[in-house]
Amino acid sequence: MKKSHLLASLLLAGSMLSAATAAPLAFDFTDPKGVNAVRFHLDSLLEPISGNANGVSGTVSYDPANPRATTGKIVVAAGSAVVSNSVMTDHMLGEQWLDAANHPEIVFELTGLSDVKTEGNNTTATATGKFTLKGITREISVPVRLSYLPGAFGKRINKPEVPGDLLVIRGEFSIQRADYGIKPGQNEDKVNPEIALSLAIVGSPAKG
């Protein structure tokens, strides 16, 4: 009788531990090292307009045992977008283009992953979600690659004793600026209507 109680307790403890380890992990994308950024690229007269926006924040819930269940939201501060020329940067943030003063956030809210393929700690998928730019929200699908790096957090902050995992998200997609009210039908001979965006961001263990 005592043996069966012990076995039951062990099984219960084991299942609780298993449940605990299988729980989704929360990752915070406000990077302490300032690496996170979204790059943008538009063809234009003379040379392409390229720059990046590094004001990335947001959280993603990721379950290494079930990547398909990933949820989350990534926010980019519109005002953090810069190009190499300061006059062009001011122009880009102005009312005619991004209107960063009135629409300070660019948001991607993940609603689901499809075509999920996992190999080791790497998962490729198509992320579908609501993308909001300049106050206009549209549903888009973005091919993404998720790399789960267990135990790499401490190493990255030069404190190997600190536990924690990292989640790297990479993706490339393009949008039509007219779809988001950015000079629709205007200046298309000078600035390409298509904006190419690429994302490479790392999430650290979320506090709390």
């Binding site: 690496v35 990046n52 190499s84 300061s86 790499a152 990255r156 990292l166 790297v168 490479a200």
Partner: protein, 117 residues
């Protein structure tokens, strides 16, 4: 110098004094004309040398220069910016235009006529 002579004709007269006879009036270069041409030459040379020396960038001028770095652990490529000025093609064009303007203006300052002593 006749009043209806063009600035270019006046310039030709200025540049060929040796062809005149000793009895003809001698033209001397107007000081402003000389100054404008020196400025034009300086702007041309300085503009070209400065632009070439800063990398001969054929795009727009840059106030900050992107530098690509790689995060060791995640292998994420990210961009930082060095705060320095790199003149672009419009800067070179501006310098050349200023040089041309200065040179063009110099034609409006005609040589002074001095009777030979």
């Amino acid at each position: 110098m006749p009043a209806n002579e063009s600035p270019a004709a006046a310039d030709a007269a200025d540049s060929a004094p040796a062809a005149h006879s000793s009895a003809a009036p001698r033209a001397t270069t107007h000081p402003i004309r000389l100054a404008l041409r020196l400025i034009a030459a300086f702007v041309f040379v300085f503009g070209l040398v400065y632009w070439a020396g800063k990398g001969a960038h054929t795009g727009w001028s840059m106030n900050r220069v992107p530098v690509t770095q790689v995060d060791e652990i995640t292998e994420i490529e990210f961009t930082t910016y060095e705060e320095r000025f790199v003149p672009g093609i419009e800067w070179l064009g501006g310098a050349m235009a200023l040089g041309v303007l200065s040179f063009g203006l110099s034609f409006f300052f005609r040589p002074k006529e001095n009777p030979e002593v």
